[in-house]
Symmetry: C2
């Protein structure tokens, strides 16, 4: 299954993807200063493609460009996570409802395969990758892939928090079980049940938020 955004051709695109990953995975910590010149030197390229990568990241709200001052990895705003959650819920519930109506046996098999894959995932990155693939698969089934692209972008804010919380708060088994409930409801062509299952699933991260903000205060703003 190809990634939803696959065009790693130009240098600017490559820099963008790498920086995006590093920010989402919290390798580049919130609040950290990023200099065009520094990144350019690190990757042995000129400032120009780095600059263009920064522009993309800024539009995704992952960095903040302060003119003539510097570019900084955005701190995680609790309100942003809440709003990201709000938007994601709205879209994914709608997607799940349509998926429940359009579900085909062949598609369902793939989803269950992904869930099985999750259950045996050994690393957080591995789990989150198949997690994303699952949600994307559901969107594909509902024939709303470009709606999923919106979620994908929004999700970056939440994923930063999820990487912080790996193994600390949310047990994998529980998430896998929630996934199973979602797909079961879809397979049974029950839109309401699917919507409810999605809500239960996405609600989890919100409960973790206050604890995480307490534990990693320097990564949050406000």
């Amino acid at each position: 299954m190809d990634d939803v955004l696959a065009k790693p051709v130009s240098i600017a695109n490559q820099i963008h993807q790498r920086l995006r990953d590093e920010i989402v995975h919290a390798v580049l910590k919130p609040g950290m200063a990023l200099s065009e010149a520094d990144i350019a030197a690190r990757y042995k390229v000129s400032r120009q493609p780095v600059r263009e990568a920064f522009i993309r990241l800024a539009q995704e709200d992952l960095v903040e460009i302060r003119p003539q001052r510097g570019t900084y990895v955005r701190r995680i705003a609790a309100v942003s996570v809440l709003d990201a959650h709000f938007v994601r819920d709205a879209i994914e519930v709608a997607i799940a409802r349509e998926a429940a109506q359009k579900a085909q046996p062949a598609d369902l098999e793939k989803l269950y395969a992904l869930i099985a894959c999750q259950a045996t995932a050994s690393t957080n990155a591995e789990f989150l990758a198949s997690d994303e693939a699952l949600h994307e698969g559901i969107a594909a089934m509902a024939e709303h892939l470009s709606a999923w692209r919106v979620v994908h972008q929004i999700k970056a804010q939440m994923d930063r928090v999820r990487y912080l919380s790996y193994g600390e708060v949310s047990p994998i088994d529980r998430l896998v079980q929630q996934h199973r409930e979602i797909v079961d409801a879809i397979a049974a062509h029950q839109p309401d049940a699917a919507a409810a299952a999605v809500l239960r699933h996405t609600a989890d991260i919100l409960h973790q938020l206050p604890e995480l903000a307490r534990r990693y205060p320097e990564m949050f703003e406000g």
Copy 2:
């Protein structure tokens, strides 16, 4: 009421805003080729800020950058409009529900003022501006402004169609009436009624779509 994205400082930002407006208002027609050099010459600036504006537009799906080939105003894909509609519905319905719960008298006055303003609008641009202000105001009341930012971006795809259809299909009076029903439901603190009103409102454009695609085939793809 400030616009949701107000930072027209750098040349790149100014170029971006102007081009965005011209694309959304269909001054720059779908399929038209945009050259960095041409735009730079038109606005008497260098190619660099134009290029950065193109990058922003590409991320908003308003232009398509084909490396070493050219940059083109995206044709309107019917499926994109459908998906834009899908996402917008999902978010705006959720916003309306929360607005219905959090509505304050002072906020409601502003909304009714906007509706009155719409009823007397003489140009399409004027109407759409206050239309946007109304929906943004509802989002502000629901305390989900950043969710509205997502809608704002998505909406660009639909607005291009709306500008095509001015005066031809959708009578202003009808839209204003729909707005009134939405705000009435919110004022009455009835989430379900508000959601239903929003759905009725946003459904209109979908009915216009086939007719518009028939009338302006060169602006659509597929």
